[in-house]
Symmetry: C2
Subunit: 322 residues, 2 copies
DNA sequence: TTACCGTATGACATCGATTTCAGGTCAACC
DNA sequence: GGTTGACCTGAAATCGATGTCATACGGTAA
């Protein structure tokens, strides 16, 4: 438990001077500085960060608030930690399980100065509730959010989805079945707009093939294949909300002896780790870049630095399922 | 920035009394307690956790030290955060990328009292180096470790691997090809022992079929299929170090028109998320239970509580690849 | 010569809590 | 009546750093 006072004593200086020598801020003669440094080394000194945080008011710690940290959030987590550590910050996790009360706990942690800032990945709470806490520190969302106090690193999924649709069109598919995620998400709505525009552009009938909504899992994908068989094979391609649904479709197709892309094409979204295993064509979603942008925004608010954030881009990854 | 002094002032008591009223420790008359509580509510008081940590010497924060937080570590992370939050602890991440210098940074964070304890998931550093830091707080490893100061939540992979081997034997496979991971890991050595014992038990020739070592990725799996084809199909089953390798084998087999399990069986290890998609038979590795045990150990050291930890078990998950 | 600035240093206040200590009241018990 | 102990309270010390302020020295510009 050696503290800065002991260092000062051993070096024969005041604690103020010891602090200056250790931190490099302010004037210290070279001689005393060396004395302090050697004293610190001899006594195996390490500053108590709680004291530093208390005094300076900054913890150099940011909170990541998410329902869980498994796929696809682990990529975001890893990216955020990476950016944070590069800048001498550390990341503390708050797991909500999409429970609003737990989200408030994370916000309270900000208020209690356990962290300097928060990154919200998905949340239930009212935006106005969250906005009440920005007075305690910057809050950034990875989700499209319309609020002047809360920046977001959202990417317009319109662009990404259009990439998928154009690709399918180019490959000759005309009866595209959309498999959307939760309809209340703005992301889903953007994709629907993309599809509408796509149909207009190529003069296709938007209702030629039914769409699915609120589908998220591999199991959903499997069901869709059976639906497809039982309903006269009404589509020649599936544009999926994510790689899980796409994988479910492919897996079930294989089980039933169908061939992809001959019987139908499948395009995923996210480019998850396992996509190459299934040779899945998908839209790469640069999650790590978004994490690093989220951190950049926070940093710019805390340290008042201007940071040019180059916008991440969706990218088509062509494999063998289209 | 309302602090406890303001509360005390508004309630007409001393800070000591306010602290007692708020924390519930020590004697306070019911009347003053109420006065303090209402004052706190009116002024929207929230304690500064840095001050609390400084004074009490405990942060109720533990550090998770891992090379990254993507699969399969995201499950461990999620599990650890879950257990921690249940007990009023929070988890801070330290990403090492298997870099020893970064591991020291995490250890230093413990020394500097940024966290109360550490969980090491995989590491490079010498055990003795890590052991030097246990004087600053408990350290637990998720890895087999032989050191009296550092408990570990390791599971003997001998048992898990034997489960896989017995299953393959039962299904009639006799020419089993082992695909091992890094040979310097004790886990791998345990598996090799399991295989030796297995051969003895059923009177099989351990060298009947060559083994692979230091294989970890899906790409490695793909190569192994080509090797198998080019070398006269010397195995009828693959027992894999993890699901990634197994997936690579399955994916490549499909591309080459081979059939699983008719041409050869494949058994994975870990039971990752995507295993069901490939209908992969695998050994379920209860990662989340291990995380919760890791936390239990830490808690028992910090709070001096006896916690019965029931040992997690490997489990065979039969699907269609064996 | 005076004024001023850069360098150097230590005393002391400060961040915001907790906790010890000493003192005080009041009832119960011997 | 005196002792004991439970209950209650606030002054002050404490955790371990940082930062302000006053003071001082020496050199340079006016």
């Amino acid at each position: 438990m050696t503290n800065i006072q002991e260092i000062a004593q051993r070096a024969g200086v005041s604690p103020s001077t010891a602090s200056r020598a250790l931190s490099g801020r302010g004037y210290v003669s070279e001689e005393k500085k060396q004395r302090v440094l050697t004293a610190a080394a001899e006594l195996d000194y390490a500053p108590n960060l709680n004291a530093v945080s208390l005094k300076t008011g900054s913890t150099r710690r940011i909170g990541l608030v998410a329902p869980r940290f498994t796929e696809p959030l682990s990529l975001f987590t890893t990216g955020l930690v990476h950016s944070a550590e590069e800048n001498g910050y550390t990341v503390t996790l708050f797991m909500t399980g999409l429970n609003a009360a737990k989200e408030v706990e994370a916000l309270e942690a900000l208020r209690r100065k356990q962290v300097d800032a928060l990154v919200f990945v998905m949340f239930q709470s009212d935006l106005s509730l969250i906005a009440d806490y920005v007075k305690y520190g910057p809050i950034v969302c990875w989700q499209r959010v319309i609020h002047e106090a809360i920046p977001s690193v959202f990417m317009n999924q319109y662009d990404g989805y259009m990439l998928a649709l154009e690709h399918l069109y180019e490959r000759g598919y005309r009866r595209i079945c959309n498999v959307y995620g939760a309809t209340q998400r703005l992301n889903t709505q953007s994709r629907m707009e993309a599809f509408a525009d796509f149909c207009r552009k190529y003069d296709l009938d938007p209702l030629a093939c039914p769409s699915f909504e609120n589908r998220d899992t591999a199991r959903d994908g499997e069901q869709i294949v059976r639906w497809w068989l039982e309903n006269g094979r009404p589509a020649d391609a599936f544009a999926c909300t994510n790689d899980w649904v796409a994988s479910g479709i492919i897996a079930e197709a294989r089980r039933l002896g169908l061939r992809v892309p001959e019987d139908f094409a499948v395009c995923g979204f996210d480019n998850l780790d396992f996509a190459p295993l299934l040779d899945l064509t998908t839209i790469h979603y640069p999650v790590d870049e978004q994490a690093s942008n989220a951190f950049a925004i926070i940093r710019s608010r805390i340290e008042d630095i201007e940071l040019p954030t180059h916008p991440p881009r969706f990218r088509l990854v062509e494999r063998l399922t289209t």
